[in-house]
Symmetry: D3
């Protein structure tokens, strides 16, 4: 990812990004029903590296399988590139874990940017204390073997009903996670920065008592003039 794009995405919200994507006809890029374990962290930004789970068949999912260094869950944790986000397709099923604190810690130490599952994490209180962005549906103490079998690494997946292609740019904030198609990342990031400036201006105006009519959107000439002045004044 363009470093400038990464930097820009650190400063915008998933809500703003969703609107930028909406303008481009992309309406399903928000990962539904996931939340940050630690909502106080800075934004999570990185390219998607994916892991796909399928339903676990009992005979193929004994504890012994982890002795295999090629087990896709463990391999994904060791191979997810630094700066990327590991996105896990758990079929929206949080009855068993997608991963636990040890694997998540390993991702953090390896320089990975964050982790997202549409299922749940185990050891969630420990994960919540790490300075590392993690998003899930709800806590799930049972080992993944209980219901999930890791089967594919870095293929296109669904996560929380959003399409995720390897290399897509993933952004998370205190609200949730959005998926930006790779080829749109630069333009969407730049546009979101612009939109954020305007929204910050509007928010200040509203907090000062101004009506939203004519201001948001700025259909009044005065609103546009005021915004221009504000930008100059605030260097944005």
């Amino acid at each position: 990812m363009n470093p400038r794009t990464r930097q820009q995405l650190m400063g915008v919200s998933t809500a703003t990004l969703c609107t930028a994507l909406f303008k481009r006809g992309l309406l399903r890029q928000f990962v539904q029903d996931v939340r940050p374990l630690n909502p106080a962290l800075p934004n999570m930004v990185g390219e998607a590296y994916t892991l796909r789970y399928m339903p676990a068949r009992e005979d193929l999912n004994t504890l012994d399988v982890f002795k295999d260094r090629e087990h896709p869950q463990r391999k994904a944790v060791e191979q997810c590139p630094p700066g990327a986000v590991l996105v896990i397709d758990s079929r929206k099923d949080a009855r068993a874990a997608s991963a636990g604190s040890i694997l998540v810690s390993r991702l953090m130490m390896r320089g990975v940017a964050g982790v997202v599952t549409d299922g749940g994490f185990r050891d969630s209180p420990e994960i919540a204390r790490l300075p590392f962005p993690a998003y899930h549906q709800r806590p799930a103490a049972p080992t993944n073997l209980t219901l999930h079998q890791a089967i594919d690494i870095n293929v296109p997946i669904g996560c929380g009903d959003a399409p995720v292609w390897p290399g897509d740019v993933i952004v998370g904030d205190g609200e949730g996670v959005v998926v930006i198609p790779a080829h749109l990342a630069d333009e969407v990031a730049a546009e979101a920065v612009e939109m954020t400036a305007f929204e910050d201006f509007v928010q200040q105006q509203v907090m000062a008592g101004r009506s939203i009519l004519g201001l948001y959107p700025p259909t009044d000439e005065q609103s546009r003039a005021d915004f221009a002045a504000w930008r100059q004044q605030h260097g944005r």
Copy 2:
């Protein structure tokens, strides 16, 4: 609303109010599955002013629609009376936002008492920091245009499976939101104050080690006598 009623409702819980309504045969007045974005705020009390969403048809919900000052969402935000609560029927669908921080800030600045949706808010971390009661199901970054079209202002609606008539009295606390039919507000508020006094008495007794049998409800004569004494002592 009677100012005394408003003041009384600031000091009672939604749980107590639900019981007072239960006594009157009203069993569905609690808005199901919504929670406060900021659970530390005082109670929210106000008369319902409603906004109804319907499913969005794509051609009628481009970003341009907000240029129309008559757009019902924007109009509702500018017209909801000070002291009222804006209650939004989002068909319990939190996959797209009901509103965001700018509109919610505007409601706050206009003196509105609070906002409730059975869908979700976007910019939820910002909204959670406002000194303004807001209740939703879960965060929802996508713009409302993605799935919702504002269609009616101040008509009877459903919110979280509860019936909401314009003018009904809405009360929210750290637990959730309850809808009091307008004609019952005064008597229910007064009764809830009485019930709260008794519950506070019972809670103190229980924390002092007393059994609930004969005390809650006060089937023992002694319990009733003790409560009478407690009231006198505490001036309640």
Copy 3:
């Protein structure tokens, strides 16, 4: 319960316990979709004492029923043994309360170890402030009479899709609640202590930058040697 077992279970996680149960072919012992009202408390440990709700028929569930000292809900609260956990089968229905702060306070004062429902509690903000472990699905202000009728005390039940037999050992932490069959409690507790030592070792190694391959599980000879040294060093 063996006091040593109780003490051991105070120091292990529900995630570790789920894995110990998984090894024994028990895959459904985690109570699905419940969470602590106060996630900062120490573990909850106690033997299950159960309460079963059925759907409420309106004529049998007026407020008067609580005048009956034999009402199963009130009786369960007064009879649940100190040190036990009251586990309530609310049919996963949180539209009405399973109990409120007065009953939960009474349980606490009686020395009960905690309370779990797969429905919801009312007065949840008050309960969250008690130094007493309570787990539910979500807040529910309406009185239990609205939808639930207490019908059986200390029979086998389901709670959050987990089977709960009276006397089973219930453990809760910041993640959720697990049910350990009574006859397995001692061996599972002992094994979980061992597993926890290993997980703590692994976590430290991972935080120091070590790969999980060969370490977790410890398929490398070196990992096993390092762990043996670590145990000696840390007296575990």
Copy 4:
């Protein structure tokens, strides 16, 4: 059950019965989300004999358990009284069977009046061919041991969110199943016969082109006169 009551209930619909119960303040007596396997059969009428399932723990639910003649599922099938309806609380979980064609056939041969589960039956195509009323949510091929453990016979239960007390009168038709509290069965049956006569009259009038206004309900004097004449004419 009064034989006259049984006979009356053979000729009225669950819809009419629900309205008669609604008049008495009972709004939750319809078993939600169950359907007849064979919708062409006559009404099912009988007193409730209940079976309660709890979630199955794996070690307690091997195929061997059926060797025990006291296993509650098998015992319920052999002990459910002729003329009664076996009502099964399967926690609305149709992922595993509540029973199969052999047990259902045995119920039929024993003179039982019908069987209802809020889960699913296995061998459902075979059951659908029996001249025996059976109601479920959807087919479920896996044996009950997979997820359900039979635990209690003839206790009060929930079935499809309806309260079912042993001895309540169960009526099923092509639409579904309703639960009539035992003490109301006679009066509700009698009233439903009256209501059915009126509904039949109205239906004929409507099919002849008459408006429902003033007719249904019969607020017009003429409607009441016409109905009186119709009753005389049709001997009802």
Copy 5:
């Protein structure tokens, strides 16, 4: 509606119409999760006349309300224009009825084209026997008063998550129901007739053993030539 449009829509499928709408960027016009009570009837075609339900408050929904000739449910039944389809927004809640056989019969006798609810009908076996298209989610014996209050006639609504505006053209077949925006009805109908001709041609070819590659869609020149010949031959 243009009579030619109506006639055309009698001969095309909801699946084909959904594709014609998809081409125009309209992806949510299929009414989700409703089915015909009698799947053997011809297509249902008519303009939408709507009825909106809200959650019922108990004190406003006694049986007496039907004595009011202005009750919106009864009024809608008497006022829905001949040739129109009555579309009911029941908030996807089939726990109580949207209407029963008497009202549906009255609609039929009045020349209405059909009825759709995203809830359920009572007396569903009787409705299924009428030569009148009716679509619902599942049978629901309890009277609508149990949970639903009719509140608005002919306003824009949601039905099965589809947006329905009064005057939109509603088409139902054995598969389900689709909503065509009024201004698109003529062109979509005409296009669907064309598409149906091509699909019938393709279906014949496929049943004769031809591959779909190059045929569906007709990327091969030969496919287009064959279709031209087929049209001429069949006069379509």
Copy 6:
């Protein structure tokens, strides 16, 4: 597949197969919540050939994509081997179609044994008339492009929460669909034939009035003797 195994599986039920799998510790092989479009057909038996859908991104799913002969949906239809069953992972989402009658007809003409999706088919009335086994959740008129993108052919998938590996043996009957792991197919088929003989014997006995106690399972010596005689008599 062994032709004898195929033949055996044509004569046993999914319920019996589920029990045979249960004995081997496999509890999740039944495809949840799918049903036959035509329940009157003979069993469906074949090896799994899979198709995986992911959520559709709008820009990648225009109608033009079908012009690509390599589109995975069309390719799967042309390449699924005769005698195999096409099993589609539609993420249990039936809001848009998995396939329609033309593709299903092509599968039939190519000698494929059947098709299963955990989503829905469009043109479902037409598919229901084909002499070809097809299973889905419910009808879905919208084209798959609306929500689904075909992404992988013949990889391990989930279908209705069951794990499906390419080559697993799929069996469908009037009740639903079960997945037999490839390596178990021969032994499970043989055992199911034996079990079916016993179940047929028991069913006859029960229909003749015999109790299930001691008979099912055959814990009585007499039952085993009677079965032996029955087998000889019926040549099974």
